[in-house]
């Protein structure tokens, strides 16, 4: 039986009918056509599918769309505002925090929550914070540098 869900994604309200088994990541990518959220492993391991739901980073391949009824979701598409990149995106750009870019939306969404909880993290805390996000290209060094730079930008903005 289909369920009607109402939720907010990147500031826009949506009401849609969904089958219970529809995964949140498929809802975002295929129903709302927000393909910035990636599917890497599809087994809850890699974090490529990370979005924030009510402010908390979650793996959208490990949640059903019906569970998001009433929720507020932010995906990578919701980060830039008025044509201006989000400070975390700017930091990844400046510090070369990506190579192929596949893991990047998930990294940025996880960091958006990690840096909110801990605005001035050590490198070790950054690494611990992104432990659920796998990158097959960079070797993480530039990602950590980008995260550090992002934290600085966010602190200066606040």
């Amino acid at each position: 039986m289909a369920h009607t869900i109402t939720l907010t994604v990147n500031g826009t309200g949506y009401t849609r009918e969904v089958e219970p088994r529809l995964l949140l990541v498929h809802f975002l990518r295929e129903v709302l056509e927000l393909t910035g959220t990636h599917i890497g492993c599809d087994t809850s391991q890699c974090g490529a599918c990370t979005v924030t739901m009510d402010g908390l980073a979650i793996k959208s391949c490990t949640a059903f769309a019906v569970q998001a009824d009433g929720a507020t979701i932010v995906t990578i598409e919701g980060m830039a505002k008025d044509g201006k990149l989000h400070p975390i995106q700017e930091a990844f750009h400046e510090e070369h925090g990506l190579q192929c870019g596949y893991c990047t939306p998930g990294m940025i969404m996880t960091l958006s929550q990690v840096l909110e909880r801990n605005p001035d993290p050590t490198d070790e805390e950054i690494r611990h914070g992104i432990a659920g996000n796998i990158c097959r290209c960079t070797g993480y060094e530039n990602i950590v540098r980008s995260a550090r730079d992002a934290a600085r930008r966010l602190r200066e903005e606040a």
């Binding site: 219970p20 088994r21 498929h26 391991q45 974090g47 979650i58 490990t62 059903f64 432990a131 659920g132």
Partner: protein, 289 residues
Amino acid sequence: MIPAAFEYHAPATLKEATALMRRFGDDAKVLAGGQSLIPMMKLRLADVPHLIDLRRVSGLAYIKEQDGGLAIGAMTTYHELEASSLVRRYAPFIVEAIDLIADVQVRNKGTIGGSAAHADPAADLPALLVALEARINTTGGARARHIAADRFFVDAYTTAMGPSEVISEITLPALPLRTGTSYRKFANKASHFAVVGAAAVVTLGADGLCERVRLGITGAGPKAARSKRAERYLEGKAPTQENFQTAARKAGHGIEFLEDIHGSAEYRRHLTSVFAARALAEAVQRVAD
């Protein structure tokens, strides 16, 4: 991967949830954080024609002081536990153990009730629950039950709960003064699950000897369990490295060691004594802190 089709229920009360459990019997399962159940449904290792989501049931996520210990609602997430000053004050090893579970995303969703109910042999919290002599409170059976943690975990993925029972709360009893806690694990590099984890709760007497020792082991065998032989050995003895080592060597007694790609039975036996000794030593060291 797409799970088999199912009916989704999101009852507003625990009573409604258990009524649905009774109605659908083996065809129903409750959904908490979904961090074990959803992957299993996707892999079609779990077939759940009726999924009963507890997320709308209010009053299942809380941490409060009770009788000098804590009462924790089943739907309390790892993150809520980790961020709680009450939990940190009660027993810091809970916060440390949770910090080593999976990753930020899983800790935002996974719940204490889900971890206990799932009874994964490699899960972390069950070791702490048995070492703390926690009680698992359930509802939905013939009567409400308060099940001692070491009787709750029966086998791999098997608990003492009946088919329509739901965990409502987990209570942690008061700890005596001069008690230290420690959790040390050898983690699987990829998932962070415990290959072996040892949870120690040690109370020193006024005479400086180990008065009360509780040691919970997870990962090593099919279920989390107390190492009573190690506990008994150490009680009444001086807190010395030598005594910790001897006690830790007894920690594997009675465990049917698992054997899989992460380690042979022999390796797990070795890890059990190494990590039990470390946890015991650290727990004692913390009594002083």
